[in-house]
């Protein structure tokens, strides 16, 4: 894994100012999960309309740069998607989204947000 790619300026910029960080009081779906390896914890809040389309999504959590950036990008991506489409997102797509090479141990950090989103939508990963 190349260090400079992993902790690039852009990457750190997102870490400093993650999108969709916060809670939704009247969330229709919510869930939390943690990574036993590092204790990272992420909460996801989702609002959906009558067509099960995501109208808003937010997350809170404490974690490493990889999990936080992944949560920021993934929540951006799923906004406007239908639940079925969200469930079809593959782990590889999340890694691709990050645009950085992630080492094998840290893949878990990158995929934690996806796991929490899936849990919120009622399907176990």
């Amino acid at each position: 894994m190349s260090f400079d790619e992993l902790y690039s300026e852009i990457f750190m910029e997102i870490y400093d100012h993650p999108h969709n960080f916060g809670t939704i009081e009247s969330a229709d779906l919510k869930s939390e999960d943690s990574n036993p390896l590092c204790g990272d914890k992420i909460n996801i809040y989702i609002k959906i309309d009558e067509n099960r389309r995501i109208t808003d999504v937010k997350f809170t959590g404490k974690g490493c740069a990889i999990s936080m950036v992944s949560a920021s990008m993934l929540t951006d991506k799923i906004k406007g998607m239908r639940i079925e489409e969200v469930l079809a997102i593959k782990p590889e797509e999340v890694i691709e989204l990050l645009k950085v090479p992630v080492g094998s141990t840290r893949v878990k950090c990158a995929l934690l947000p996806l796991a929490v989103i899936r849990k919120a939508t009622g399907i176990n990963p």
């Binding site: 894994m1 260090f3 902790y7 750190m12 390896l37 590092c38 204790g39 490493c64 740069a65 840290r106």
Partner: protein, 406 residues
């Protein structure tokens, strides 16, 4: 003086490896240590020349293997100053050792009776969870606290009373580097008629230990944290006590006679060594002990003390870095956090410089909670680390600060 340490580094082939163009700087010795050629050769030699199952065959090869296995036991006995070789039980490691003690001592003490088990908030999960299992049998688990600087708060000694059955404490914290005063605890525990268990996983590899001086009733440690391979470790227990408590696992070798519905136990130490044990591992542990003794445990302690002092100076200089654990009397490891950076990112950034450190909860989640963090980064040293290795901690911290602008 420094010359001998430089030549010692050459005993460890893995220290020549490079990652991403950088020399490997191995600072995860609290997790596992590297193995010198002397030990690797010894392991191989056993398999090439003396491999057979022990205590079973009547042929010459099996007798030779048995003799070598028992000689390894004797080497361990002398290494920790135990009175009898039968007090040395070979197990997989500290975790299995603590499970063995919790299970067997637990059955002996809690058989329908109530009582207290005192442990500390800084223990490794392997010295917490096996005791939690005993809660079903009537044990009440009590946690001794620490001061904010990580040192043990000895006020728990006043809680020890006739209700207390077991006190179990680490010989050295794998997170804080705290070295509790075992003797002080032992007196109080024994006055109350309770038993003292010491988790020696981070103690035995780093300083000379004599179980009679420690005054504990049980000690466990792992070979792989003291230049031996994984899968071999030791339980030491007092002979009379090991005689009294029931066996842990059932199977071959641990029995005297087996009938359809019951069995009688073999003598010590076989009573606690069910099945085929890690015979070659025991031989390798013997080699590891010979290797450490040749350098000298006191020399090793001195060397680590020098390196630790160097490390402390780095942490003293660094702003915006939290170092956990005491300033004085600390073992050769540093758990820390840097500003707002997550410990995992810290470890990844160190890795980019070829420095192997650990990040996470270090199997001590109650302790993480005590400090209100989810993770820490940890650099841990052993005698074969060089001054340059320690200096790299500073380089790593600086790079983290640069990336995180903290």
């Amino acid at each position: 003086m420094s010359d001998i340490w430089e030549s010692i580094r050459n005993d460890f082939p893995i220290l020549n490896r490079r990652f991403n163009g950088n020399r490997l700087i191995y600072l995860d010795n609290a997790a596992t240590t590297q193995i010198p050629e002397y030990v690797l050769d010894g392991l191989m030699e056993f398999y090439k020349n003396s491999n057979a199952n022990v205590h079973r065959g009547v042929y010459a090869l099996s007798e030779e293997a048995t003799d070598r296995y028992e000689k390894a036991r004797e080497t361990v006995r002398s290494f920790i100053g135990a009175n009898r070789p039968e007090e040395i039980l070979f197990v997989r490691g500290s975790t299995e050792g603590l499970n063995l003690i919790a299970s067997s001592l637990g059955k002996y003490l809690f058989n329908g009776k109530k009582g207290g088990i005192i442990t500390t908030i800084m223990e490794h999960h392997s010295n917490i969870v096996p005791w939690q299992f005993l809660q079903e049998s009537g044990a009440e688990l009590i946690f001794a606290d620490i001061h904010d600087d990580g040192t043990l708060d000895y006020s728990f000694l006043d809680m020890i009373d006739e209700n207390t059955k077991i006190v179990t404490v680490t010989g050295t914290s794998n997170v804080l580097g705290v070295i509790p005063d075992i003797k002080k605890i032992a007196r109080k525990v024994h006055d109350a008629g309770a038993y003292l268990v010491v988790d020696g996983a981070q103690l035995v590899p780093h300083k000379e230990v004599n179980v009679n001086d420690l005054e504990c009733d049980f000690l466990v440690f792992s070979g792989h944290k003291m230049v031996a391979p994984t899968g071999i470790g030791v339980v030491w227990g007092k002979y009379d006590l090991l005689e009294k408590i029931p066996p842990y696992m059932g199977g071959g070798d641990m029995i005297k006679e087996v009938h359809k519905y019951n069995a009688t136990w073999n003598d010590l130490p076989q009573k606690f060594e069910a099945g085929t044990t890690n015979i070659a591992g025991a031989i390798a542990l013997e080699k590891a002990i010979q290797y450490l003794k040749k350098i000298g445990m006191n020399k090793i302690e001195e060397r680590e003390h020098t390196l630790t002092k160097m490390g402390m100076e780095i942490f003293d200089r660094m702003k915006n870095v939290t170092l956990y654990g005491p300033h004085e009397n600390r073992a050769s490891l540093f758990s820390f956090n840097i500003g707002r950076a997550h410990a995992h990112d810290v470890a990844s950034i160190f890795d980019s410089l070829g420095i192997a450190i650990r990040a996470g909860h270090h199997c001590a989640q109650p302790l993480m909670e005590r400090y209100n963090v989810t993770a820490m980064a940890r650099a841990s040293l052993y005698f074969y680390n060089s001054e340059e290795d320690v200096a790299m901690i500073e380089k790593g911290i600086e790079k983290v600060k640069q990336v995180f602008r903290t």
